[in-house]
């Protein structure tokens, strides 16, 4: 650690390395794409890794970024070197404290993976919207553009802030830099010490608040003083740029890497100049160099220190020959006359010229533009287009580049450009499944090449917005020089393309990327002779036209035979090394083997053995295909959406699914972020290898299978015999069991074959066993491909059958309730997701009158991540109206829905009495007196409202029009706030608490996975004691917060604690009771998650274990019962019947602690066991209290 060495790492790791090495306290909160910095810091501290001064930094996870900022502020005020990591909304939540920290001239560095802000939609991707939103706080803004620079600037920023006493935001582009794998030299400890002398640290420490030398800070100042106080810091800001430059110089003297406040690249006599900051500057350097080589007088200026901006240094850095300047901002300020960097440059130059500056022959013409929002590609072609624009007499100002703006016509056109200077770079692309290890293997390859050879290596990984069956595309570059291509590999550029899953052949135009003479590697179950015929017409033509070398390997066969199961990553990696030509083959194979040994070593001798076997077998099974001269295939790529679809789906949804979203013009976009429902149904993903097949002869029609299905892919309907007259042959149905149905009624259970993900939960829950063969149930999994065609027809027919009349449904049983149509279907949630069955159930019960406020998290991603949404409508066009505001405010957001809807209803009630309308008195009376506590009541009220509207149609006045606009609010609406435990227990708890305290009728559904699932399993206050999670690598040491108990303390909140797999009827009952309660209802829904470290095919079993071990108690607390003299609390689960450890050992989140911290594991398990018994007894006592007196009191009052 003490000497400078080279690592191949991601930007986040580079920042975290320095931050952890140079701080004493780190306060964090997870947010994409900066979470990894906090996670690594926590893991390192957990391993006892020390900082430069020999102490292990204290890493603390807070309840929100606002909390993290407060803790950082406190720690800084108490003299510790303190940092944090964040992005986007997280940074916004820190703003109040940032003013304080800067206002008090406090030394600190915040490392920010810069990301878009949620506006018309949320985006997790990279741009400068967040950092530009804090430019006014008094923090310095320092931009680094590559993995190496992240490492260097993290250190320089630390040095600068201690010297200048101005806090620094050190930022780099989210994903593009934070997640890019590249090489970085790690500064030695000597360099660190030289940059951070103890005198500076002592000075920081000396400024601490201490009772030994007490001072007062944080005063309240009046009109007489505040203004002067703000101006008192000016000398620090004036001195800052030169301090930064001095630190750059000092760093250069130590490492040889020289940086400047503004760095110019290009022709010495440049006339056209591009100014920008961030990773895009690297692509700009490449492009400018190429243009200069071809004789163009262009240059680019990289901005390092944006705040405080040194106009003098800026102007000094611009060649005097410059006549025109384009300034690019990676942010958007609607309504502003130009974006921030542009305006600063204009101001600086205008002031300079205005004050008589004579560096330039004339004031340069300056235009500003926007690029790269939300990681939009920024390529050499675009850069050239901007510089070319400057050739024009009147170049377009306030332009955009990278999109097609057919609305405001802001965009510049561009042509793609492959830089000749990069001819010696080998570019490789890999198409894999998220779960097949492709990305992991590629990261490994980069490490092998980056650290084991003189070549430079770069890796960038494009993931999916879906969680089930996610596709990954890896972009790797290798070359003799440092790689600064901060954009994806373009068309005709890839020298090597690997398709790790044959199903992609019909989905992606992979070979469009292939360069002439490149190599195409396909994992195929077919031989070299047959594989050619699997290709589409287009692919065959591409292979012939581009003279590609085509190789095949049956990776699954090789992996299986080598004992690797379905893990094909080593096999595909070996093939890559064998045929890509990046390294000499034998050398490469030796290096892979070394890497395998290094990775597993003594821990995994068997894995090493199997990997070696797979490596050797891969070479033996890799075959080159003789490419015929002619195209022989008749197959074409699958259209992204099949059949007749609405125009919106055809023009937009379908294009996004096909991966052509970048080409969608501005005018096509819903400008206020409003999108249609029901689109997931168009996206037939065919993920399941096996689907359930119904055995109608032994089925008892219990309704459990549609209940547990996470993707609403198995459903039941009851219908008359006549309805199936035109059924396709093979459509199964039998007379339904149960007297509640009309005589002769038929029932079917039908699977949606192309939407099912094959999780098998329906089979697991099925309670029926074939009497003569215990291995068979009423549902049995069978391979999907042979069933697909028939089941597709059956499914289509099933959809055409009428929905069962909701008024006739018996809601108290699963068989009845599951006849209700789910209005949440085919989401992109994980295979076997433990959350979605709850949402689906809510939509079955209340979907036609639901409004959902959804906290950011998994449920907002599978609920609303484009291109499609699983929320849908019924035949009347009714369905859940859904919106995601933020992560932290969902309780408040939902309360807002309630208030507005009540206001509309009240207005409608008021208008009903309006004398000018002269409405039918009996109708009005019926509307006012309506009982809407059940389905028939709601149905009838809808009928009355229709009659009312009919009457209103005949009345010609404003009151009638007004009443028409709110009449539907006379029908009950069901308000839901839905989110995970990260929201409910942590960041949104304050709002949730306030919502409960408000007493208003809002239903709160907490999908409790006991971790922050969406961002990768970080600890929340719901995480149980003894569980390992990110930020709790040593096992969480305190018990899970008992949110039920907190809510019950209000005594007016309905509380339900449910686990659908443990007691399905209790779940159903709880949802119905909660919704019917005219006040706040809280349902805490236990949701198994992949973050638990258990295969979700055991989802149901895990829920049973959870309840049987006492980890959770099923309960319902209904305040209405008190008035009836009954105890409001009903405990629906029994005394724990199995040891807690028996449950814990089945999930890796607990069991891995025995392998990492065995003593802590034993200790925490003991505490957990004691805790569950104590809690059970507590609940048991509460549930057994006698409330018979309450009835009398109630009557008296």
């Amino acid at each position: 650690m003490s000497k400078e060495h080279k690592l191949t790492i991601e930007g986040n790791e580079a920042a975290a390395y320095i931050a952890h090495r140079t701080n004493e306290v780190i306060a964090i909160y997870p947010i994409t794409p900066s979470s990894a910095m906090g996670e690594m810091s926590d893991a390192w501290s957990n391993q006892g890794r020390k900082n430069l001064w020999g102490a292990v930094p204290e890493v603390v996870e807070m309840q929100s970024e606002a909390g993290a900022a407060g803790t950082v502020h406190g720690s800084l005020q108490s003299g510790a070197l303190t940092t944090t990591f964040t992005s986007s909304q997280g940074l916004l939540l820190m703003i109040p404290n940032m003013y304080k920290i800067a206002g008090e001239l406090t030394s600190a560095v915040f490392h920010v993976a810069a990301r878009s802000l949620a506006a018309q939609g949320l985006s997790i991707f990279g741009d400068h919207s967040d950092v530009m939103a804090v430019r006014q706080t008094g923090f310095a803004l320092l931009s680094s553009n590559s993995v190496q620079e992240v490492m260097d600037f993290a250190l320089i920023a630390q040095s600068v802030t201690l010297k200048a006493r101005i806090p620094v935001i050190h930022f780099f582009d989210g994903f593009r830099t934070s997640h890019e794998v590249n090489e970085a030299h790690v500064p030695s400890d000597d360099v660190l010490r030289a940059m951070l002398p103890d005198t500076l640290i002592r000075a920081h420490r000396k400024r601490a608040l201490t009772p030994d030398a007490p001072v007062l800070r944080g005063t309240s100042q009046n009109p007489d003083l505040y203004f002067q106080g703000r101006e008192s810091v000016n000398p620090y800001y004036e001195a800052m740029p030169s301090i930064v430059q001095n630190c750059f110089d000092e760093f250069a003297a130590l490492t040889g890497r020289q940086y400047h406040l503004f760095e110019y690249h290009g022709a010495t006599d440049a006339e056209r100049l591009l100014i920008l900051m961030g990773s895009g500057a690297e692509a700009a350097i490449e492009t400018v160099e190429e243009m200069v080589n071809s004789g163009e007088k262009v240059g680019m200026l990289k901005v390092r220190l944006f705040r405080p901006l040194s106009a003098t240094d800026l102007i000094d850095a611009i060649p005097a020959s410059v006549k025109k300047i384009a300034v690019l901002d990676r942010t958007k300020e609607p309504g502003a006359h130009g974006e921030p960097l542009y305006k600063d440059i204009v101001t600086a130059l205008a002031e300079y010229i205005g004050e008589g500056g004579d560096r330039f022959a004339a004031m340069p013409r300056i235009i500003g533009g926007r690029y790269g929002l939300s990681s939009k590609e920024f390529t050499p072609g675009m850069i050239k287009s901007v510089l070319d624009e400057l050739l024009k007499e009147t170049p377009k100002n306030h332009f955009t580049i990278g999109i097609h703006d057919d609305l405001s016509h802001s965009s510049l056109e561009w042509d793609e450009l492959t830089l000749a200077a990069n001819a010696n770079v080998t570019r490789c692309m890999f198409y894999g499944l998220g779960s097949d290890g492709t990305v992991s293997a590629n990261k490994n390859s980069i490490k092998i090449i980056g650290e084991g050879t003189d070549l430079y290596a770069q890796g960038y990984f494009v993931y999916d917005s879906k969680k089930a069956g996610a596709v990954t595309i890896s972009h790797l570059r290798f070359g003799p020089n440092a790689i600064r291509s901060t954009y994806l590999i373009g068309n005709n550029e890839a020298h090597f393309i690997a398709c790790h899953q044959p199903v992609f052949l019909e989905r992606y135009d992979m070979l469009a990327h292939a360069a002439e003479g490149g190599v195409f590697l396909l994992n195929s179950p077919h031989s070299a002779d047959e594989a050619w015929h699997d290709l589409t017409q287009k692919m065959q033509q591409q292979i012939i036209d581009k003279q590609l070398q085509f190789y095949v390997i049956d990776a699954y066969k090789v992996a299986t035979e080598s004992g690797m199961g379905r893990r094909i990553n080593t096999v595909m990696q070996t093939c890559f090394f064998a045929i890509s030509g990046v390294l000499e083959k034998d050398d490469a194979i030796a290096k892979i083997k070394q890497a395998v040994e290094k990775t597993y070593g003594r821990k995994g001798a068997k894995i090493v053995e199997r990997n070696f076997a797979a490596i050797d077998a891969s070479l033996a099974h890799l075959h080159r295909v003789e490419v015929p001269r002619e195209v022989t295939s008749h197959s074409i790529m699958h259209p992204p959406v099949a059949g007749h679809v609405p125009d919106f789906v055809k023009n937009i949804t379908s294009e996004i699914i096909a991966g052509r979203g970048n080409a969608i013009p501005v005018s096509f976009m819903p400008n206020d972020g409003t999108w249609p429902l029901g689109t997931a149904a168009y996206e037939k993903r065919n993920l399941a290898l096996e689907i359930p097949v119904w055995d109608e002869d032994i089925c008892i029609h219990c309704g459990k299978c549609p209940f547990v299905c996470p993707h609403a892919a198995i459903r039941s309907k009851v219908f008359s015999q006549d309805a199936v007259a035109d059924a396709p042959e093979g459509f199964k149905h039998v007379p339904v069991k149960g007297r509640e149905f009309e005589k002769g009624s038929q029932i079917t259970y039908q699977v949606a074959p192309e939407d099912c993900t094959g999780c098998g939960l329906c089979v697991e829950i099925c309670p029926v066993k074939d009497k003569s063969n215990a291995s068979r149930k009423a549902l049995n999994m069978a391979p999907q491909p042979p069933l697909r065609e028939q089941e597709r027809k059956n499914w289509k027919f099933f959809l055409s059958l009428p929905e069962y009349d909701r008024e006739q449904i018996r809601w108290n049983g699963m068989k009845g309730a599951m006849l209700a149509q789910p209005l949440f279907e085919f989401s992109g949630a994980c295979v076997g997701c433990g959350e979605t069955p709850y949402i689906k159930l809510a939509t079955q019960l209340f979907g036609d009158r639901m409004v959902i406020a959804n906290a950011t998290g998994c449920s907002s991603i599978y609920g609303g991540n484009l291109p499609t949404t699983p929320y849908t409508t019924n035949k009347d066009g009714r369905g859940p109206a859904w919106s995601n505001s933020l992560f932290e405010d969902n309780g408040e957001f939902g309360l807002g829905f309630r208030l507005a809807i009540d206001a509309h209803r009240d207005f409608a009630l008021q208008l009903l009495q309006e004398p000018g309308l002269n409405l039918d008195a009996q109708l009005i009376n019926e509307i006012l007196q309506a009982d809407q506590s059940n389905e028939p009541g709601i149905y009838e009220q809808r009928g009355r409202v229709d009659l009312l509207k009919a009457q209103l149609a005949g009345i010609d006045n404003e009151a009638a029009r007004n009443l028409e606009s709110v009449a539907d609010y006379l029908v009950k609406k069901s308000i839901w706030t839905i989110g995970g435990d990260g929201w409910a227990y942590d960041i949104g708890f304050g709002g949730l608490d306030h919502l409960m305290a408000s007493g208003r009728n809002v239903n709160i559904l907490v999908l409790d996975t006991e971790v922050y699932s969406n961002t990768g399993g970080q600890m929340s206050k719901s995480t149980p004691i003894g569980a390992v999670a990110k930020f709790a690598a040593g096992g969480k040491s305190v018990a899970k917060k008992d949110l039920s108990m907190i809510a019950m303390a209000y005594e007016h909140v309905y509380v339900g604690h449910v686990a659908f797999g443990a007691k399905d009827l209790q779940t159903l009952k709880t949802f119905i009771e909660a919704e019917s309660y005219d006040g706040p209802s809280l349902i805490i829904a236990y949701s198994p998650c992949i973050a638990h470290g258990v295969d979700l095919s055991h989802n149901i079993r895990q829920q049973e274990l959870v309840v049987n071990s006492g980890h959770m108690n099923l309960l319902r607390y209904d305040p209405r019962r008190v008035a009836k003299g009954k105890n409001p609390l009903q405990l629906d689960s029994k005394k724990p019947s199995i040891p807690y450890k028996e449950f814990a050992q089945t999930e890796a989140r607990f069991s891995m602690l025995w392998r990492t911290h065995p003593e802590a594991a034993d200790e925490l398990m003991k505490k957990a066991q004691a805790g569950v018994m104590e809690r059970f007894h507590h609940y048991e006592q509460l549930a057994s209290l006698d409330y018979s007196d309450s009835k009398n009191e109630g009557e008296q009052s």
Partner: protein, 337 residues
Amino acid sequence: MIDLSTTYLGMKLKNPLVPSASPLAKDLNACKRLEDAGASAIVMNSLFEEEVNADEERLDHLMHFQDIGHFEAASYLPAEESYKTQLESYLEQLESLKQSLEIPVIASLNGTTPSGWTRHAKQLQEAGANALELNVYYMPADITQSSDAVEVRYVDILTEVKKQVDIPVIMKLSSQFSSVGNFVQKLESAGANGVSLFNRYYLPDIDLDTLEVIPSLKLSSSVESRLSMRWIALLRGRVNLTLAATSGIHSADDAIKMLLAGADVTHMCSALLRHGPDHLTEVLKGIESWMEENEYSSVTQLKGSVSHAKATDPTAFERSNYIKILNSFDSPDGVWR
């Protein structure tokens, strides 16, 4: 002074009581207590190759296969460098037992594949094991496999392991062989230094509520020692390798019977789990006082004195109890009716 010493796998032990593979060996404290209670050697809990493999798989999953391909999360559980596999823990446990105990420590290996057996055997030897117990349990569920083939499998494993290690190797067997004696002879020829008779296994049970097959195992009882006793008695004097008696030895009487039948050592597990390590002292005292009462001077003298070769009625070891009971009204020899 009664000489309790015995020879086990070429090692001289101070007495014949050797705790067999049990969870007690996982606890250093419990092992110290066993040693203090008089244990003359200790067989560690088994290292199951299946568990080692599963553990490696878990580690592999943690390190490389947590990714589901979503932008926001590349993993869900922190893959810590401090993750210790079962194998590492076992080797550490062996090392620490060797450091803390003076009595020999026998490592126990339950393997499933040839490579697993040999690689792990070497590692156990390197970590200081005094001997190795191979706990082979192969269930020939494939009914096309002949009994010969099954036996060959055992012999092959033993041969491979013997090639790799210098320390003595004892085979722990089940009783499920057509000709136990003949098979033990084959193992001896293949280089086994001893056999431990007989192993007890989990047996399948059917849950009447779920109709699922579940494994079940109950602690042994004294009755179960009789099968081992029979075969030890039959083998004593006919083979030269160490005979270790295991299963159902709970009391001094059980142990004495085994020694009389010909065991070199008697293993104990269930009784120690049930009564704690100190139970061993009681058993030892019991053996001693029985020998004293019956005027035996050494275990060597006692060992095998009622074996098949030396029993008053050797055929009793050969007959099944059923016939014995039918004929139990017969008068003893020398008594006229």
